[in-house]
Amino acid sequence: MDFLFSFTPLIPLFPLLAFAVIVLFTYRYNRLSSDIAIGSIALSTVLAWAVLLATLLGGEHIQVEGWQLRVPWLPAGTTVLDLGFAVDGFTAAMLFMVPFVCLMIFIYSQGYMKLGQPDQDPRYARFFAYISLFAAGMLGLVVARDLVLLFVSWEIMGLCSYLLIGFWSFRKADDEHHIDEAQVIRARKAALKAFITTRIGDVLLFSGIALLYSYTGTVTLREIFRPETLETLQTISLLGMPAVTVIALLVFGGAVGKSAQFPLHVWLPDAMEGPTPVSALIHAATMVAAGVYLVARMLPLFIAGFEVADAPALHWVAIVGAITALLGATIGLAQDDIKRVLAYSTISQLGYMMMGLGLGSLVAGIFHLLTHAFFKALLFLGAGSVIHGVEHGHHVAAHADHVHTEHFNPNDMKAMGGLRHRMPYTFVAYLAGTLALVGIVPFAGFWSKDEILAEAFHLWRADGALNLPFWVWLAGTLGAFFTALYMGRQLGLVFWGEPRHTAARHAHESPSSMTIPLIVLALFALLFGFVNAPFLGSPLHHFMGGVHEASEVVHAEAVPFNFTVAAISTVLAVAGLLLGWLLYRNYRPGQVEPFQVVLGPVFTLLRNKYYIDELYQQVIIRPVVWLSNFCFNIDDRWIIDPFVDLVGAAGRVASDIVRVLDSVVVDRWFVEGTAQLFNAAGRGLRYSETGRVQNYLLVVAVTILLLLGLYLYF
């Protein structure tokens, strides 16, 4: 069966070809374009599953050693960059999930973008071209043998996320379709935000790859993970740390951006401005999975750093994961937009994956990645179906009454209610997704979340003290409770109670092209967990656990099923789900939120996402401007003007301080006050943008001079 492996390069190639064909030739023909896209991803799925089959039949040799193909690509003088493909147990496991979930999303998109209906999206064909390219990027990442192909795929995804999140920034404001100007602008801003935020991570990742190449002379993953190479990297010292730790941290920086981990998580909720299938694609099968996949792929580096350094990169993965898991889950409690709740849920679940990897367990993290991909795709597509239904209901209601109710937001959960009768298929599928996410036996999420928590618990008990695994376990268990709570709230608001808006009253079930993928994914959400169920002998562990064995630093063994851990998290999950559901099932419009009654000011903090966005606007974005200001104001011509401005600004800042202090004392929030302070300071500092190229160049020169000086000094 080994000949099946030679199909591997074709897996990312088909969607890539679909992209090229649609963009170049068939963009005028909508149905043909989407058929090409769906057909290509279906072919990829078949090939990917064939490769999976070959890996399954190949036995341990193939699953651990793997198959690989080297293609010399770019000759550049004495070095040649390779473009290689490789398959091992880990890749095969990803290949089971990625193309299949993509296929489901593609089929669903056909219904969502309203093929053949009068209000079909005007850029329908282009949409399918973009999502094909996106799928090609993710598949290329998964089958990459070298960091070059991996990085290229990584960047393709970055570009596609920009194009797709901003997909509706070309829409015209239009009353007929309830599109207002603000929505279009939000889409544009969200796309830029996603692109720029992930770019921060990409730069770090690229520096990591460059460092790896300069120290090891190779970009092939397997060569880097050879014990000798890792040992060399451990002995080289860089910035007071072993080089391997520095590189691992840089790589993790890339993953933090792509997988929306704290502190770079801000782009992901805004990414909801794109069409819902895009959200599903980004949040389940591709973009955010890429970061987790990268960390898992590079796990030997992290663990090698763990062995030698005082500040091990591995701990950072676990810490960032734990923070993100809690942060996302708590913010999710206070959001009204159905998709935003899911977005914060994704952030939180990605935190779980990072926690699993940070504990050194490849399988725990990846198992959760796989199950999460199925049930989160399901939830997003379900949310899309709900939005679709409500939008339709709004349309019907508006036409019946001949009145356009202004300012209707189809994503607002508070305008829904009682939809379980009107959209039964969507409801059942959504319920399955919720139970899987919350972690109720025997749904998929139970097994994978339990494995991460059991791993943490196991490491804690092995040591005994209140060590990092203990905190990780605590964060994970608390996070599980919050997850259940916000999902209970969501179920109650959307599917129970009375319809709170005419649109919800007239909502109806979505077409079969949308419900069939939902049902299929619901089956996976129910059953997929069994691929690594402990009582079946943890098959996934045997399949992919050994891929990093050759590096001699990663040792994977399945942690035994722990009844205590499972019981605690399940009880908390059921309690949270019931609590959320009970509190919100009879929510009436205009009523003060039950959570707000209980949590008080904390609820405001959560609703405003801990003010992190505001903080970044003032603390990260302004100082970039400030730095240039610092350099230019030395100069005599501008010393007068900015001085006056600065005095003015200082006065303004001072008065703002007084005012803000005042308002804090009276009624305002401390956090909000800080944001205003920064805002005022920023207003004064914008005068540094002189627009003169030579000023900017001077800053560049000074920076280079400083860097050169530093280089000499050390």
Binding site: P75, G77, Q694, L698, A701, L705
Partner: protein
């Protein structure tokens, strides 16, 4: 041997005077036309350097492309945009002194760095017989360096097309042209 060495040093000094003196004139001359002519002097000094360094092909390339093409292009551009910057006008901007300071510091840092560094100089035998065959250079350009070479050629094509598009006088331009004229 000693005479040859002395001669080399003499030539080097002359070339350095040409290059650096020309360079200084380029950045300080009030008359832009003179600055461009000084650039040609400076570039000619660099041609001499290449000859001294046994890089004959490069010397020819430098002569043809830099002095023959780029300098002439620059002279034409100066003539096309003339009448605006008369020689009496101040040619430095307000940040010139801070620029001078930064540049001086950069120079100092560079000098310190390169005099500290121990360079891995090749052995005498290799130094005496450098690889200078033009045919080998040609083979390298279409062999191991084929892809960078192709990329450069595409870049040149793009620059060519871009330059034509940018510099072409369109209807639109002429419109704003007239507007600018009337408002003045």
């Amino acid at each position: 041997m000693a005479i040859e060495q002395a001669l080399q040093i003499f030539v080097f000094v002359i070339l350095t005077l040409m290059t650096l003196g020309g360079g200084l004139a380029v950045v300080t001359s009030r008359n832009l036309f003179h600055a461009a002519l000084s650039l040609i002097l400076s570039l000619a000094g660099v041609v001499g350097y290449y000859v001294l360094l046994d890089a004959g092909f490069l010397a020819i390339v430098q002569l043809l492309i830099y002095i023959g093409a780029i300098s002439i292009l620059i002279l034409f551009s100066i003539m096309l945009t003339r009448g605006l910057m008369t020689p009496r006008q101040v040619q430095r901007n307000e940040q010139w002194w801070i620029a001078a300071l930064v540049v001086f510091l950069t120079f100092v840092v560079l000098i310190v760095a390169l005099w500290q560094m121990v360079w891995p100089i090749a052995d005498d035998e290799a130094l005496r017989t450098p690889n200078v065959a033009i045919s080998q250079l040609g083979e390298a350009l279409v062999g191991p360096y084929a892809i960078p070479f192709e990329i450069i050629s595409v870049l040149l094509l793009v620059a060519l097309v871009g330059a034509i598009v940018l510099a072409r006088e369109t209807e639109n331009n002429q419109g704003s042209h007239a507007e600018a004229g009337s408002s003045e």
